[in-house]
Structures are given as C-alpha cells and as structure tokens.
C-alpha cells in the first residue's frame, strides 16, 4: 500500500471514529464553554489567593465553582480536583517566558505570574496578579506573555482579540494598564505570536489577527502605551525561549559574564545568551561554561536555538534557518541584516561554532552597497546540504540568487569547498519584469533540473522536463527514476517557496503541482 493510501485510510478511520459524537445544541456548547472559562478563572483566583508562600498544597475550584483543596500528592488523573503541586517533573515545559527578576526568576506558570528564587522547583504565584489574569475568562494561556523591562514586569494578554497589557515594578505594587494603540476591536480572533525585548528595539509585541484575512501587527512599548511599530515586525517575530524538559534555568550561583542575561542548563553545561531574550539587534552571542564560573564565548548562535532548536520548519522571519542533518548535527544560517550571511554548526543544538561565511562558501559576492535582508536558507537533501542565498537590489526589479551545495551531507565543508549549483541572476530578473519564470538551478552536472519560460503554459512542460531530467539523474547516480523525480520536485518546490517568501511575486502562482 502506498503512503498516500495509508494516510487516506488513517484519515478516514479518524473521521469514522467521531461519527457518533453528536455536536449537540449550539447554545449548550456555548454555555459549556463559558462554564469552562469561569471554572478556569475561579481556579486562577484561588491559586493566586492561597498558594503564596508555599507550593506543597493545592487549591482549586470544584465542578460547581466551589473551591476544593487536597493533599499535594494526589495524582492528577485520579483526583477530582485540579492539582497544582509544582514538582520538577510537572514544571518541565510549563514555565514560559522565564526571565531573571530582582534576586530570582519570574515566569508564567500556566498563565499565572510566578516567581522562584532558584528558577528550578520552588515556583510561587505572585500575590498581586494583573487584572486580566484574575478576570472572567481563562482562555488560551499560550496567548499570554510576560517580559521583564528593566525591573518592571509587563504582562501581555491577547486572548480576547484586542491585546491588553499591564505593568508594575515592585512586588506588591499595583498593576497599571498599558493600552495598545490602534488594536482591533474585541471579537477579532487573535493570537500572540511573540514578544521581544532588547536594548535596541525595546519591548515589541507581535500578534496575528483576522480581519477579512489574517494580518500580523507589531507594537512597541513607548512611554505608557504600546504604539504600532510595523517596521519592527520582522525582527520582533523571533520567539522568546521557553524552557523545555531538557533545558532548564541555571541556578543563581551561576554567574554569567557581564551583559549575559539568559542562562540555561542542559546536560550539565550552562549556556548564556546576550540580552534578556538571547537576542540583540537581530543577532545573538552565546557563552558556555561547565562550572558556572569560568565562561568561554562561542560563536554567534542561532537566535532562537534555546526555544526551538528542534523545530525544523522553515521560517518566514529574519531569524536563521536551522536544520538537522544526520550525524553532523545542526546547522544554522543567518544574515546580519546587512551584507553577509553566516553559517554555524552545532553537534547538540547548544554549542555553536561558525563554519563559514557565504562569500567563503562560493566566493559569492554580497555587495556592501546593497543590503541583503534575506538570510540564507538550507535544504537538506538525501545526500547533501543545499544553501540558498539571495540579494535584491533596492528599488530595482533585479535579483541575484545563488544555490550552493556540500559534496555530501556527511562531509560538509568548513571553508571554501562548497560546490556551486547555478546562478539565476538574469533569469530571475525576467520573472519580475516580463512575467516569465525562468528557473535554471541546482545542478550544473545536468544543466539544470528545470527550465521553463512561460508562467502560464509551463506547468505540464516542466513536469515532463522533470521526468526527463530525473531519468538522467537516475542513470547517472544509480538511483530509481522515482527517487530522482521526487528529489527534483522537492528541490524545485523548495526554490519556489523560497522565491515566494522572499518577495518574488508570482513565483508560487506559476506552479500548481498538487
């Protein structure tokens, strides 16, 4: 059975498994949703009110909204009441937006502001929570963020459409509202994409919202309000670290170098990052230590490595692309936002070292006069690592684009030994000026995998071209025609996606390869 058939069968089985699940009355559904929210809110209120000063007991709301308390050891799955004893095991992955604050740590524990002296076990909720967290709606905790700005705590809540924020300085002080200027009205479903705080850009919040189509907005904290900051949208899309099961906050006796704010422990090794969130001005530096006292700088590190080093998705931001490539570990590539691209390599996702700059990879020339905002992009093929890089000249419909490849994925070169795939310079110019797509790329050995000149009539011809080229590749490399075809199509689709996301309008419309 083919994979496609297997997936379709699995999809049908899933659909069949819910056939007996009646939707019920819509009004009852809404009432039930409100009840869940109310119960969640009550739980939050009681946790806030009673859990301060200790973690060895729990307090929550029962099914009728009445508070219920129980012993700390009651297992979650066998007890009626909501259990909130914060053992280390349960904390794994539950503390979001961690940051150093005063003499300890602060973070969100399932949507509630909590502090800890050591950042490990003893997390305690603050007595005074932001008003919106003790309000009438529990909602989605992933839409709440916490950031430390100087000594102030800022909590941002995007659960109910319009983002709201509250800020305060000392423990016990009152929270004050921080409005979002120009935010859409309540009811517009939204989600908080990320929050960034750095000396360079200040505090920036990014949100997705729906208004006859999905849009992404950024606001920067300015004085007493968040004001629209569309120019910061790209850089602010970087995610903050979230401590997962195997990356933990380092204890307080670990003293990082001056200016290093984010310190995590993983596998007995400490890693510190520049900036509260590990990012400053679109770049990140990392330091490593085994004893918490003696620190060594390591090369610029992928900005979001702590948060999502296991995330293999291609990113639509200026953050570096990160991919895993078998025995060689992790690779990341990023641009400094100006002229050059840089590659790093890591064996474990934490300890990164620079292996090449793009002009070393191919003798690719990134002209200093023309900023290149696009980071290089990786594609890991079966046998090699491929890097895409591009440059677009300002105010001109002219692209320079390159594709390079390593000889094999097991022997990625650390200097100038990268092979050159092709050059798109003149042909991509035609995409923009004449509505013609002319892609010739990837492998000089086969004189290009695809060569199409007409965006409207080219699809079937290109598909046939894939077949022909694939036959050549299959014969030359001793692999099956289907494998060669799949590889070619995958590479081509990657290039179209890459062109599209880098602003080459029309690229995605060219190819309907469903």
């Amino acid at each position: 059975m083919s994979l496609d058939s297997r997936l379709r069968d699995a999809g049908q089985a899933l659909t069949k498994s819910v056939e007996h699940c009646a939707p019920g009355d819509a009004e009852a559904m809404v009432r039930q949703s409100r009840r869940r929210s109310a119960i969640g809110a009550v739980a939050v209120v009681f946790v806030v009110a009673l859990a301060v000063g200790g973690t060895a007991f729990f307090v929550t709301a029962g099914g009728d909204g009445a508070p219920v308390a129980g012993p700390a050891s009651t297992p979650l799955d066998t007890a009626g009441p909501l259990e909130l004893t914060w053992t280390q095991h349960q904390l794994d992955g539950r503390i979001t937006y961690p940051a150093r604050w005063k003499e300890g740590y602060v973070g969100l524990l399932d949507g509630v502001v909590a502090t800890s002296p050591d950042g490990a076990v003893d997390w305690t909720v603050l007595t005074s929570q932001p008003p919106m967290l003790s309000g009438s709606s529990a909602g989605d905790w992933s839409a709440i963020a916490l950031v430390v700005v100087e000594d102030d705590l800022v909590v941002i809540d995007a659960r109910e459409g319009r983002p709201i924020a509250a800020q305060r300085s000392d423990d016990g002080a009152a929270w004050r509202d921080v409005p979002f200027v120009g935010a859409t009205a309540p009811g517009s479903e939204g989600s908080l994409v990320s929050v960034l705080a750095s000396e360079e850009v200040g505090l920036v919040a990014v949100r997705d919202s729906y208004e006859s189509g999905w849009t992404r907005d950024a606001w920067a904290l300015s004085g007493d309000a968040f004001v629209p900051a569309p120019d910061l949208l790209a850089i602010a899309a970087m995610p903050l670290p979230s401590w997962s099961a195997d990356v933990r906050p380092a204890p307080m006796n670990v003293v990082p170098p001056a200016g290093v704010a984010v310190v995590a422990e993983r596998g007995g090794r400490y890693t510190g990052f520049v900036g509260e969130d590990g990012v400053e001005a679109g770049r990140a530096m990392a330091y490593t230590s085994v004893d918490g006292r003696s620190w060594d700088p390591i090369a610029p590190v992928a900005a979001d490595v702590v948060a999502e080093c296991n995330e293999l998705e291609w990113r639509r931001t200026v953050t570096p692309d990160i991919v895993e490539t078998g025995p060689l570990g992790w690779f990341a590539a990023g641009s400094d936002g100006c002229v050059s691209g840089v590659m790093w390599q890591s064996g474990n996702g934490l300890d990164w070292h620079r292996i090449a700059e793009l002009d070393q990879i191919h003798a690719w020339v990134f002209q200093a006069a023309f900023p290149s905002p696009f980071p290089p992009v990786f594609l890991v093929e079966e046998e090699r690592v491929v890097v895409y890089a591009a440059q677009r000249y300002p105010r001109r419909s002219l692209w320079n684009a390159w594709v390079g490849r390593s000889p094999t994925r097991e022997t990625v070169p650390s200097d100038g030994a990268w092979g050159r795939y092709g050059e798109w310079t003149d042909r991509l110019e035609a995409v923009i000026e004449d509505e013609l797509l002319f892609v010739e790329a990837f492998d000089a050995t086969y004189e290009g995998l695809v060569r199409c000149t007409d965006a409207h009539a080219g699809a079937s011809a290109a598909r046939e071209d894939f077949r022909n080229r694939s036959d050549q590749i299959a014969a030359a490399e001793g692999i099956s025609p289907q494998d060669a075809y799949d590889r070619s199509v995958g590479t081509f689709l990657a290039s179209v996606e890459w062109l599209s996301r880098n602003g080459c309008e029309g690229a995605e419309d060219f190819w309907s390869f469903g």
């Binding site: 659909t15 498994s17 995958g490 995605e508 190819w511």
Partner: protein
C-alpha cells in the same frame, strides 16, 4: 463577505464532526478534543455576526484550532477535565483508534507542527492545497513544501504494513 450569516447552530451542526476529527488527529487525545473543538466554535460564536459573513467561516474555525498551541490546549484540557468530571461530563468521545491507525497519527504528530497540520488537513478533511494555504495563512508553495517533507519523513518512518519501523 456574504450578506447574511448562516444561522450559527446550522453551521455548528454541519462542521462539528469534521473539526473534531481534525482536533483528534492533531492532539491524539480522546478526552480533550471536544473541548478544543468547542472552544474554537465558541470563538466563532462570540463574533458570529462578522465571522459568519466570511466566505468560509469553517476555514476560520480551523485556523483558530491550529493557530493555538495544541500542547497548551492539551495541558489545559487535561486540568479542566478533572474539574468537569465532577460536573458529570457525559459527552461522547471518539472511538479508540485501531493501533495501526493510531501509530500513523502518532508519527504525524511527531512531524514539525506545520507539516502535521498540513497532513491532517489534507488527509482528514480532504482539503485542497489552496484550501490548506488559506486556512494556515501561508502560500500554496509553502503547503506543497511542507507536504513533500512530511510525506518523505513519514515514508521513512512507516513500513509497508502501516506500522512503525
């Protein structure tokens, strides 16, 4: 935008099971998927006068479902589940999947998030590339790329019998 929204209860009755199946595929949790699904519909209900006028409000609900963190959903519903149990939650749950099918969806959930979403929308809902792109808010090229990578990885992980290597 359409002129007059369809009555919400009709929309809800028509779309519920399909969204429930999607939630089941993405979360793997039988006990929490009703809550995930209902919360997504409740979000639509809160602003139905506007959402109901969109060309495809069902796509909007699906976007809300996948746009939120599934892990956060699961964590939350596992805790609220205990509370609701006291109130006697009598809703029907999805039937437990055949182990071989469950393993397939387990592998899907191990994919990077976006890839898993694309696979679920395509194989649970039989959505077109264009539909999926509209739901996820990305280009059709991105959907194809995610799908290609997902298929490639799944092919590596699943043997011919549908089990896991």
């Amino acid at each position: 935008m359409v002129g007059v929204p369809e009555p919400f209860d009709r929309f809800y009755a028509r779309e519920y099971r399909r969204v429930l199946a999607l939630a089941y595929g993405l979360s793997g949790s039988r006990s929490g998927v009703e809550d995930m699904t209902q919360e997504s519909f409740a979000a639509a209900f809160r602003d139905w006068d506007r959402v109901g006028r969109y060309g495809d409000p069902g796509a909007w609900v699906r976007r809300v479902l996948v746009n939120r963190s599934v892990s956060a959903w699961r964590r939350r519903v596992s805790e609220l589940r205990a509370v609701l149990r006291l109130g006697g939650d009598t809703r029907a749950r999805p039937v437990e999947l055949d182990p071989a099918v469950d393993e397939v969806w387990g592998e899907v959930r191990r994919l990077p998030k976006r890839q898993a979403q694309v696979v679920a929308l395509m194989y649970v809902e039989d959505r077109s590339i264009e539909d999926i792109a509209a739901i996820l808010g990305c280009s059709t090229g991105a959907v194809k790329q995610h799908l290609f990578r997902a298929r490639k990885r799944l092919a590596e992980r699943l043997d011919e019998d549908g089990g896991v290597r």
